[in-house]
Each structure stands twice: as structure tokens, then as C-alpha cells.
């Protein structure tokens, strides 16, 4: 067996030492990792650029649509407001109490031997009802009966168009004065009638007809 003398023992030792230098290995590992990370970063950056271009396209689309949408929204709000306002105004219009039909009915009830001196009518708040005070004179052999006839007629006539009709005497008194009707002297009575009714059903029927009432 041949004898090998390693005269470069120390140099080999140094070379091996250099080869397994942790700093050098670490730097190489770091370099490798850095390269991988850089590649991954570039891949992500490319994807991000792609997304940015998609975003630009969508923004462009939106910038074209946005004015139309804003105008549509504004118009919708305006239309909703108009619809709401018209609805409320229609409710106000529909819930009105029409006096003309009432005056017409009243004129039908007043006979020749009766005369109305005053009519004072009020629509209660929220159209919950109507109160009317009627004052007048009745003449006849039995003036009180003439006044009662008027009351009955009013009750019947108003009952046809309104609800919860009440017609009551507030005052009914004989007068000393006589009235001349058809050449005959008749006794007279003064009466005050309180009329109350609920027009809700009739108020919804619609506008009044311009018929000619008479007194």
C-alpha cells in the first residue's frame, strides 16, 4: 500500500471551511428566496395591473351610465313626490262636503207656509259631521204642526243622502202676529231646528250637480 502524504492539509482545511461558511450559505439561501419572492411579487404585480385595467374599464362604463342613473333616480323621486302629493290632494278633494246638494234638499222641504230666516251650517273638523242651525217661521191653523211637518220632511230628505241624521227642535214658540196666506189670516210660530248628520258616504259620491234649489 502506497503511502500518501498530504502536505496541503491546512489549505484543504481552509477550503472546506470556506465551503461550509454559514454566512455564505445563508446569503445564498437568502438570494434564492429573494429571487423566488421577487418572481412571486412580479406575478402578483402583473395580476394587479390586470385588475387595474379591468377597474378602469368598469369605471369608464360607470362614468357613462352614472349621469343617466342619477337623472333616473332624481326623476323617480320627483314622480314619487308627485304621486304622493296628488294622492293627498285627491283625498282632500274627495273628503269635501258639498253644500249645494244639501241646499237643494233643504229647499225641497220648505213648504209655502214656512219661511227660513237663517241657516248656519258648519262642517266639523276632519269632516266628522255637519251641524246646521235653521231658524224660521211657520204659519197655519196649527203653526206648530207646520213646523213639525218641515222637521219630518227634512229628516226624510236628508236621511236619503246622509248618515246618522238628527233633526231636533231647539225652539218652537207661538207668535202673536198673524200671517196672511192666500187671503186668510194664519197663526204663526217661530222655530229653531238643529240638524246634524254624517256626510261621509255622500261626500264620496262626487261633485255636486248644479241643480236649482229654491226657497
Amino acid at each position: 500500500m502506497a503511502l500518501h502524504l498530504n502536505l496541503l492539509h491546512e489549505e484543504f482545511q481552509e477550503q472546506r471551511q470556506r465551503q461550509r461558511d454559514p454566512l455564505k450559505i445563508g446569503m445564498m439561501v437568502l438570494g434564492g428566496l429573494g429571487a423566488l419572492m421577487f418572481l412571486y411579487y412580479m406575478f402578483n404585480a402583473y395580476k394587479t395591473l390586470e385588475i387595474r385595467s379591468r377597474l378602469n374599464a368598469v369605471q369608464h362604463d360607470w362614468s357613462k351610465v352614472e349621469p343617466k342613473v342619477t337623472a333616473s333616480q332624481k326623476r323617480s323621486a320627483e314622480l314619487n313626490s308627485i304621486i304622493g302629493t296628488t294622492k293627498v290632494l285627491d283625498q282632500i278633494i274627495d273628503s269635501r262636503f258639498y253644500w249645494a246638494p244639501f241646499l237643494e234638499k233643504l229647499s225641497r222641504c220648505v213648504a209655502l207656509n214656512a219661511q227660513l230666516m237663517s241657516i248656519d251650517g258648519t262642517v266639523l273638523e276632519d269632516n266628522r259631521g255637519v251641524n246646521v242651525m235653521i231658524e224660521g217661521l211657520a204659519a197655519g191653523r196649527e203653526p206648530r204642526a207646520a213646523a213639525e211637518e218641515l222637521r219630518q220632511l227634512l229628516l226624510e230628505q236628508l236621511g236619503q243622502g246622509y248618515h246618522d241624521v238628527k233633526v231636533e227642535f231647539k225652539t218652537l214658540e207661538d207668535l202673536d202676529t198673524l200671517a196672511n196666506i192666500g187671503g186668510a189670516n194664519m197663526a204663526m210660530a217661530r222655530f229653531g231646528l238643529s240638524v246634524a248628520f254624517n256626510p261621509s258616504a255622500s261626500a264620496l259620491k262626487g261633485p255636486s250637480s248644479p241643480k236649482t234649489p229654491r226657497k
Partner: protein
């Protein structure tokens, strides 16, 4: 297994390499990948948001078109009701209008007095006001009054008579004096 014998110098270098590795990771995630991902996420969110908006905008525009078609009657009616309130203060045009109206109905010397105005509580009527008026008709007969009231109620939809007072004229019982308390709904001018 071969035991790894490291010198002090090597351990120091190994530690230095480890620190360098940690610093590299920190810098990479904090200053490079993190902001990039955040930017990408925010862009994706913006895209989703905008696409949602674009998608809903079509519905929105379709709704507006449908509403426009459905609201034709309401818009026409609203325009007509608005037209019943001329430009200018109501006190300037309503009394002459009433005077002319009653004169047309053969009732002369009609006067209208403004008693007050109140805004509506309803949000839908924010642009409208309720005006209360007192109409005085010094001389009329019952038949003429009846026709006039019917005509008034038919031609003035936004006017309602709240109180009506008819009393015989003292000097001529054939004629009556009439007071009407009316409320009108008018556009704020």
C-alpha cells in the same frame, strides 16, 4: 449522523443570516406584497361595487321608465292642480277671482277676506299651503246662491266650504246675505 461542530464565528454568522432572513421577510411582506395585495383587494372591491351599481342602474332606469308610464295620470292631474294656483300672492288674485266668479253667477259685490294661512303637516304637501277666506255675498236669492255654490264646488276642486251662514236681509226678506268660510289649498309662491 455526523455532529455539526460550529465555531463561535460560524454561530454568529448563522445568527446574522437568520436576522437577515427575518428582515427580508418583514420588508417583503410589509413594504412590497402587503401594499400590493391591499391595493388589489381594494380594486376588486371597487370593481364589485361598480359592477353592482351598473347592474342595479339598469333596474333603476327601467323602474323610472315604468314609473313614468304609470304616473302619467298623476302628473297630468298634478299639473292641473298646480295650474289652479296662479303666480303671485294669493291675496292678490283670489279675491278678484271670487268677485268675478260670483258676478258671473249674478251675485254682485262679493268680497273675499284672507283670514289666515297654515302649512300642511303632511310631508307630501310641503309645497302647499291652506288659506282660510271669508266670502261675503251681501245680496243674493236662494236659488242663485244654490247654483253659484254648486258651480263653485265643481270648478274649484281645492276649495272647500267649512261654514255657511245665510240670513234673510232685514229690509227685503226675498234676498239673503251670505257668509262663507272657505279653505283653499294653494301652491306656495
Amino acid at each position: 449522523m455526523k455532529k455539526l461542530n460550529l465555531t463561535k464565528d460560524q454561530i454568529q454568522k448563522l445568527l446574522l443570516s437568520s436576522i437577515g432572513f427575518i428582515v427580508l421577510l418583514y420588508v417583503y411582506f410589509t413594504f412590497f406584497l402587503g401594499p400590493l395585495n391591499r391595493s388589489r383587494d381594494s380594486m376588486l372591491m371597487s370593481i364589485n361595487d361598480l359592477q353592482g351599481k351598473v347592474g342595479s342602474s339598469k333596474n333603476e332606469m327601467m323602474k323610472a321608465t315604468n314609473l313614468e308610464n304609470q304616473a302619467t295620470a298623476a302628473t297630468t292631474r298634478h299639473a292641473a292642480l298646480k295650474a289652479s294656483s296662479p303666480e303671485g300672492a294669493p291675496i292678490a288674485w283670489f279675491p278678484p277671482r271670487m268677485k268675478a266668479f260670483f258676478a258671473n253667477q249674478q251675485i254682485d259685490k262679493a268680497t273675499a277676506r284672507l283670514e289666515g294661512s297654515i302649512p300642511f303637516k303632511e310631508a307630501d304637501l310641503a309645497d302647499w299651503m291652506r288659506y282660510n277666506w271669508m266670502l261675503d255675498l251681501p245680496q243674493t236669492d236662494f236659488a242663485t246662491l244654490g247654483k253659484a255654490v254648486a258651480e263653485l264646488e265643481n270648478t274649484e276642486p281645492l276649495l272647500s266650504i267649512h261654514r255657511l251662514h245665510i240670513h234673510a236681509a232685514a229690509d227685503d226678506p226675498q234676498f239673503q246675505q251670505v257668509n262663507l268660510n272657505v279653505a283653499t289649498v294653494m301652491l306656495k309662491r
